[in-house]
Symmetry: none
Subunit: 188 residues, 4 copies
DNA sequence: GCGTAAACGAGACGGTACGTCCAGTCTTATA
DNA sequence: TATAAGACTGGACGTACCGTCTCGTTTACGC
């Protein structure tokens, strides 16, 4: 017999309306113009309903990130068998987001959110190409003999993603060969 | 006879009190608990005096950064002739700041400031080991034949500094061999 | 055959816990810091159980008043045969409550409750010395020939109780001879 | 040389807009539907400007009362030389306010305000016929030999005004002869 | 006894207002 | 004209309760 809490159960509808409103406002206004009050209004929800389930704006964004509502899914790493080409391809697309109108704002907003909650930082690393995709692809490269077995995969990932963040922060223009050069650096 | 504006000249004393107050509060409270009002109070200055000379909190922090009031100066890169050893040494010290109490907060605060002003991002990259020191050291490594002449120095620097930022964001604990591994990644 | 509704009957235990909690909180925190939520918590009862049986905080207080849970019962009027002495004695004790620590707060709270529900006003007038006691005592004075037969008993009572309320509202300190003077005014 | 504070002086325009808005909303909605936010909105003023100068809703109402913005000024006591007739006349008008539509609400609201701030209680007693008018008229009655020289004027006033308040609280309907009876009670 | 309808505890929900903080602008008097 | 002081509008903060609502549980009548 399962222990059941009493009282009305949490409203899934409200939860989704809140997350969707958060994602919508995050995309349009950016992280630091995001307000709890604005989200509540957009979601048609009482502020208290937000505070009941999330400790802060950052926690809300973190959950959105986890649900994949903030980062476009076209940033997955392909696996054609050629590790270097796949990395360059992927990095080109990531840097392309930076170059796109609003794209830099998106990444900066994600970083801003991460400065308030380490969990976001970790999820950002994972989502932008961390455990599931980037490191997985690197591991697959190891299996294919395109990378030494003892290569520090985590550090390679960090170097790539970190370089992207740094560019977003600095507002540095992206050139065509950048992806190639970066990949060359970390793959040797 | 030089054209001179009339009225009182800008008070250098006020400017310094403001910058010092900013640096002090930045270090103790972090960037997002930094307020113009708080700075004005701490500096014994009217809010308007701040708004007259700086456009925003970020601009204020940016100037502090430029004056070297935010980042400890022990992060310079040595030049013993051995590029790899020097980089590991420097990176160890940088990561050591992250591990030190308050150190992670400092870096996160710097990143938070950078998300509001690209100029801060660029200065951060420069200060944390950019143009003056890191890339200079790499160039010196090229001259010493320890790095290929066509090595993409900027990208190597980005990868290293970016990895540091990413770790600060994720609150990832630092291990002893991390510096060595990261340097190995970017130097091949 | 009596029409009987089905389902569980009203819980007398819950009713009493609610009234007692109300009286307790009314006495300690005063009427305007009284909240339905607080009462429910104190009584170990669901909010809905309160709303099911009472329309408002004021109705709740009104019932407490009716049950004699709010006003100390030492305020009854004696009947020694000497009307004037009895009134002075009683008024002395009433004003004594005002002067006692917390006593003024009690009366002010009762007045505050009365402003939200005329029924409370009427019960207050009755409880503080209205129909059952004060006017009864006055009528007994008429019978004893100490008051003219056509004396406006209701108005005499109103004047006395009203003066007490006014003093409570104004926070006016009470002197020894006040009771005597007031009685002298209304008895001529 | 007068000690002068620096900084902008208090805005008299804002002060008046706030007091007028308070009086307007007090009259239309009553004391307990009065909100600081509502007043600020009605007055076109920031909430903080209210909190800067008044500690509470009650303090605001108290100042309105002092400025004579809440109580109609037709409640002054005449002095025709006949004390009893003048009192009956005045009391008739006061009770008339109670009987008028909205009048009872006004008095109840004033009482509600007084329960939160003794100062309001005192001003209420004064305004409704206290020191300036009622007691003055009584003193004049003493001079005219219509009242004994040692008559407790304060208590007579309290009894009259208190009776009015009590009626307002109880929602008791007013009859024609009530004023006469009440005056008869207190004048003997 | 057994179904069922109401009462009950718990507590989530959309709201309103609270009192505080700070942003950025403005108005003074002084230097 | 720059400054210290500080009042001003505006807006978001996070909290406290409101009164309503849904849950699952308990209770006692009427079949």
């Amino acid at each position: 017999m399962p222990e059941r809490r009493r009282g009305a159960p949490r409203s899934e509808a409200a939860r989704m309306r809140i997350l969707e409103a958060t994602a919508r406002l995050f995309a349009t206004r950016g992280y630091d113009h995001l307000t709890i009050e604005g989200i509540a209004g957009e979601a048609g929800v009482a502020k208290q309903t937000i505070y009941r389930w999330w400790r802060s704006k950052a926690a809300l964004v973190s959950e959105c990130l986890l649900e994949g509502m903030l980062i476009p899914d076209r940033l997955l790493i392909p696996d054609t068998g050629d590790l270097r080409a796949d990395l360059v391809d992927w990095l080109d697309r990531v840097l392309g987001v930076l170059a796109a109108p609003g794209g830099e704002g998106l990444v900066r907003s994600l970083i801003a959110a991460a400065t308030e909650d380490p969990e976001i930082g970790r999820r950002l690393r994972a989502s932008l190409g961390g455990d599931e995709s980037l490191e997985g692809r690197l591991a697959s490269g190891v299996a294919a003999g395109q990378l030494r077995a003892d290569a520090p995969l985590a550090e390679i990932g960090e170097a790539l993603v970190g370089a992207v963040l740094l560019r977003a922060l600095g507002g540095i223009a992206v050139e065509d060969a950048d992806a190639e050069r970066l990949v060359a650096v970390v793959l040797g």
